[in-house]
């Protein structure tokens, strides 16, 4: 183990991974890659990139929901075939189950997995506290705001205690204050569980504040154009924003991203 709790055993390895789609009209969309990326076990890596560059597509490959069109995706050294055990994902869209209460939404995966009642109850209680949902435990998703529904989805994923957590813009529907607090909670959980986290975000602040490393993707087809090491200690929280290093990091990822976003806008207007 290195001093900040990471190891050198790779959790995820992507080698020349590409994804293509056939559209309804028979066209071919090159959505992603070729992309090379290695996630170290126990690290917190964020990815930023222009809209439509293939970030969600990348998570689909990592969670085993989609096979890459080319290249290799390995999890713990094994090719990803089907949905692997120990992977949790929070999707960009609201994925709460409308027919279940908040607590039953959170317990859903645990029940299907056949855990003991007491264990399920304890984990759900913890998650309700953790996500600030206690008051809404018997509410249905339709009675909650978008941000709270997203918290339900985060809780539903985290109670499964995945060792690889994939988060697709999970705080997008939250207000800035809650976003910061949730970030701190996520860091705490990450430290406690030693999970590996891959976070997709549109917020550069969030990426810099939370991550060990930040990957910047190009416009579609998304490739990795920059990988920045933040050098934060494992014990950290949202107060890193006042560190002088913070601004440097921000500009370091903004420069390539700005160029890509310009490129992307120009391409879409052509």
């Amino acid at each position: 183990m290195t001093e900040n709790g990471q190891t050198d055993v790779p959790c995820v390895e992507l080698r020349q991974v590409e994804q293509r789609f056939t559209t309804r009209k028979g066209g071919n969309v090159h959505a992603l890659g070729p992309l090379d990326l290695t996630l170290r076990r126990g690290e917190f890596l964020s990815i930023v990139g222009p809209s439509g560059c293939g970030k969600s597509t990348l998570l689909d490959i990592l969670s085993g929901l989609a096979r890459p069109a080319a290249g290799q995706a390995l999890l713990n050294g094994q090719p990803i075939r089907g949905v692997p055990d120990g992977v949790g994902i929070v999707f960009q869209e609201d994925a709460s189950f409308g027919w279940l209460t908040v607590e039953n939404n959170i317990a859903f995966g645990l029940k299907r997995r056949g855990l003991a009642r007491d264990d399920i109850a304890a984990r759900v209680e913890h998650a309700l506290d953790f996500m600030g949902l206690r008051r809404f435990r018997t509410s249905y998703p339709s009675q909650l705001s978008g941000g709270m529904r997203q918290r339900v989805c985060i809780a539903r994923t985290l109670v499964m205690r995945p060792s690889l957590i994939l988060l697709d813009e999970p705080f997008g529907a939250l207000d800035q204050q809650t976003r910061l607090l949730m970030g701190d909670e996520l860091l705490r959980l990450w430290r406690e569980t030693n999970a590996t986290i891959l976070l997709i975000t549109h917020s550069l602040d969030e990426a810099v504040m939370l991550s060990d490393r930040i990957g910047v993707m190009s416009a579609r087809p998304g490739r990795l154009i920059k990988l920045v090491e933040t050098g934060w200690p494992r014990e950290r929280d949202s107060t890193v924003v006042s560190s002088p290093h913070y601004g440097d990091l921000l500009s370091e990822i903004w420069a390539p991203l700005r160029a890509e976003s310009n490129h992307h806008m120009a391409a879409n207007n052509a």
Partner: protein
């Protein structure tokens, strides 16, 4: 507002509206004297009929056929809908054929039904199913195909197999809308059963109505119509109540 009040509010409007229509009709009968009977005299005829054993005998015959036809339509149509809605291949082959069948006026199949089922209860049930099964199938398949993909993807990542996704995600996701479907299709089943009774049976309310029509007995015809309408409103109200309970 209590839960009961809320449920009541969901089911009361159609009942109120029906009452209002009856009142208006009766007022119109008083205002413009007319040979056709108004609601009050129809109600009197109905009350008279309801004192007779043969009326209940016929009502029970219709009820039995209706329940059977609805049950078969829901089971067969629902199963077809779930299968075809979740399989692109099946929907390519079967969906167009089923839609063609739906556009055929069922009464033109009368000789075939008679040939296959003879007279009695079977042809009535067959007519009921022929009317109800395709709508159940069609709406179910649309509902299944419309379940948001992200819900199924979430279930897959939680490692639910196909059967579990079906039982724990697809079915609960479509259930409230399914009840709305049933409201439409059981009405069609009833219509089919009545048509069957009019043409292929010697019992049931449809048979009674067609007899009264042939004898020019308007009060009895309308009284049977009234009774059926009350039944339909009752069933509809019950289903509306269930639907309301299931929605969150």
């Amino acid at each position: 507002m209590t839960a009961i009040q809320a449920h009541f509010r969901a089911v009361a409007p159609p009942v109120v509206l029906m009452g209002a229509v009856l009142v208006l009709w009766q007022v119109a009968c008083w205002a413009y004297p007319h040979p056709e009977p108004g609601p009050v005299s129809v109600a009197a005829t109905l009350l008279h009929l309801m004192g007779k054993a043969y009326f209940w005998h016929n009502a029970a015959a219709t009820g039995r056929s209706f329940l059977l036809a609805s049950g078969i339509s829901i089971a067969v149509g629902g199963a077809l809908g779930l299968l075809i809605g979740s399989s692109r291949l099946l929907s390519w082959y079967l969906a167009p054929l089923l839609m063609i069948f739906q556009t055929v006026p069922k009464i033109t199949l009368y000789p075939i039904v008679l040939e296959l089922f003879g007279l009695g209860m079977a042809p009535k049930v067959a007519f009921g199913v022929m009317h109800g099964v395709i709508p159940v199938y069609f709406i179910t398949s649309r509902l299944v195909a419309g379940v948001r993909k992200v819900l199924l993807r979430s279930a897959r990542v939680m490692r639910l197999g196909a059967a579990e996704r079906f039982y724990f995600v697809i079915v609960p996701a479509i259930l409230p809308d399914m009840i709305a479907t049933l409201r439409v299709s059981v009405a069609l089943c009833l219509l089919g059963v009545l048509i069957g009774e009019m043409f292929a049976s010697h019992s049931g309310l449809g048979f009674m109505a067609v007899n009264a029509i042939n004898l020019g007995d308007t009060p009895v015809t309308l009284a049977v119509g009234f009774f059926l309408a009350f039944m339909a409103v009752g069933i509809n109200t019950l289903l509306l109540y269930c639907e309301h309970k299931l929605r969150h």
